[in-house]
Symmetry: C2
Subunit: 382 residues, 2 copies
């Protein structure tokens, strides 16, 4: 009585990620290369700018306007750039999403027009959600303006906003049309943001790339003082590792359970929620990665020497591996919330050596508490 047809849909997305400096210098070809495959222009364009960046870099608006004027044969700027409040507030509710939908409508962007977004991860996430859902997707040009956005979320395929008190509760998977990482944009950042961004580089090195970990140890003295060339190298290599993981990990839209780049993130998300965002995402990742590294040692997966190297690297980079909120954290509840976000069985990444990830499905909470104690004791001793 019942018959079944199996529908198969194959999709191939391809987008360029460009690494450059001074993207709005009219002589810089990066943005032209980013849209080259769209064919001859002029292409309709509207722009969203992170208010935090606009305040820190007051010349940005004029440089962007001059760039568009110089490349009017490629880009038809259809409306003044929309400046939105930056930081986690950008994705705290639907205000930015709705403002960007309105911009896209009033600028008469179509599915083959471009929305250019310059900003930190939260602005990229909120404006990216709007871009992905207007006309079922206008073309998104991402210009991440923080270290974390450039080396992690900005090169990925997700967007979203918070809802019901949960981070990223609403969003979708949508590859951007292109990403341009302009290292010069980072100069406008507060030091704290730049330093926090290094935590993702340590994380990705630990789970994927022992050579990168060794290189981070070499670069540590220069990274500690936020030397520009060293930061550029670390962030670029971190971005490449994330790109490679998404392309080759076998589950770019996360339909299954495994998320190997979430190493240390169960505790990081819980700490961000517990501190109401006072702890930056990268700072929380440093604590979470340190905790799961020590735990990996306590369950016999990596040696004491390696654990010591990881903790020393965080210390050398000026990233704390402890926060008072960790002391009071209900770790069983935090692990379960992490499990529930994906559903089904727990999938947790541990280290099986530097650069080698292993997936486990259970946590020994007595040992996890011991790992926490060690971080507390180390910090008290310092």
């Amino acid at each position: 009585m019942t018959s079944i047809i199996t529908q198969r849909i194959a999709l191939d997305f391809e987008f360029p990620v460009l690494f450059t400096r001074d993207v709005f210098d009219p002589a810089n070809p990066a943005l032209l290369e980013a849209v080259e495959r769209a064919g001859p222009g002029p292409h309709r364009l509207a722009a969203v700018v992170d208010g935090g960046l606009a305040a820190a870099d007051p010349g940005l608006g004029a440089r962007f306007a001059a760039y568009c004027a110089a490349h009017a044969d490629t880009f038809l700027l259809t409306a003044p750039p929309l400046v939105v409040a930056g930081g986690e507030g950008a994705k705290a509710d639907f205000a930015v999403v709705e403002a960007v939908w309105k911009l896209i409508f009033e600028a008469r962007l179509c599915r083959q027009s471009f929305l250019l977004v310059v900003g930190g991860g939260a602005v990229l996430d909120a404006a990216g959600f709007a871009a992905a859902t207007a006309h079922r997707g206008v073309r998104l040009l991402r210009l991440p303006s923080t270290a974390l956005a450039q080396n992690d979320a900005g090169v990925g395929v997700k967007n979203g906003v918070n809802a019901f008190g949960r981070k990223n509760y609403l969003g979708c998977f949508a590859p951007p049309y292109a990403v341009v990482n302009d290292h010069a944009l980072l100069a406008a950042l507060p030091e704290r943001e730049t330093r926090a961004g290094l935590a993702e580089a340590v994380k990705v090195a630990l789970v994927r790339d022992a050579a990168f970990f060794a290189r981070l140890r070499e670069l540590a003295p220069r990274l500690a003082v936020l030397e520009s060339d060293a930061l550029e190298e670390a962030n670029r290599r971190c971005a490449l590792a994330h790109l490679e993981h998404i392309a080759t990990g076998g589950d770019p839209f996360e339909l299954g359970s495994a998320r190997p780049l979430d190493f240390g993130h169960w505790a990081a998300h819980a700490l961000e929620e517990a501190t109401g965002g006072e702890l930056r995402h990268g700072e929380a990742v440093a604590v979470g990665v340190a905790l799961d590294t020590v735990y990996s040692g306590l369950v016999g997966r990596i040696g004491e020497t390696e654990v010591g190297q990881v903790l020393a690297l965080f210390s050398d980079l000026g990233l704390a591996v402890w926060h008072p909120a960790l002391a009071g954290l209900d770790m069983e509840a935090a692990v379960d919330a992490f499990r529930e976000h994906l559903g089904g069985r727990l999938h947790l990444s541990l280290l099986d050596g530097i650069g080698r990830r292993v997936e486990v499905h259970e946590v020994d909470f007595a040992r996890m508490a011991a790992a926490r104690e060690r971080l507390a004791a180390r910090t008290a001793a310092a």
Copy 2:
């Protein structure tokens, strides 16, 4: 100074489309087969029901509850079904989307839980948008309850709601987890809805499948009186043609410009907007398909015999090829709005014979006006 990495992401989606009758009969295995690849249950489940269907089929709620009780090892129903107002109003604003987000949150559905939606196209579109964006996508089980939803939109990969006065302005592309077409659900429908659904069958036959067109002519006397077996055959074949087009058309997420299954739809959308929804989508498609068929004849692409066959088929099916709103339609503006929705150059489908589509980039509006005159004269004569 600039370096480029090209990111490539390959995605393969696979979902079953099941054709059955009486899906909530506890002995019917269709829903169990639909979720088989999710592994052993129980799987968390919440449900959304079209209020129009609930009113027309008052036993539905009890049948669904009994089904879930009989299959508690597969489905864990986590909340009472959410009944939402059906019809175009379901996607007129964000109310249904927000109600479904709230349901998903309160039912604690995760990315591996199921949202089952029983309803017409508008309810499927709005609830599907909510399902695709909560947790970046919970698993959607679509049970289309109108002929049009079963033979067209319900088996596709789109969702959405209206905004800024534009149909489907907000939405995304998201394959469902499974679709179950229950022919018995259609018995509760008003006759007008069932008849309107036949317009999509004529459309898809004309652009893809001359044998199906011939079969529709054979079936016409039985379809005209809405005989159940004939309707089931026509709707199933129409659904299969849509599925095949999406899978093999080369552009399932419509990143390019061509949309060959939109034959006749520029006029149909304009007529729906002009009549404020008084004209059903299928009824508007009948007028739009007839218009572009006559135009295809006037520009010498198909013969007079074929044009006559198409108009006669609509007549035999009881579908009008004229509506007073067509007389006042600004056809140039309507074609341009259609072009703008996709952006770039105009891509319009015409017929190059029965079952053969051709794409053109210009319209001869004098001839299009003559095509309109012919439909008016034919209707006046009848």
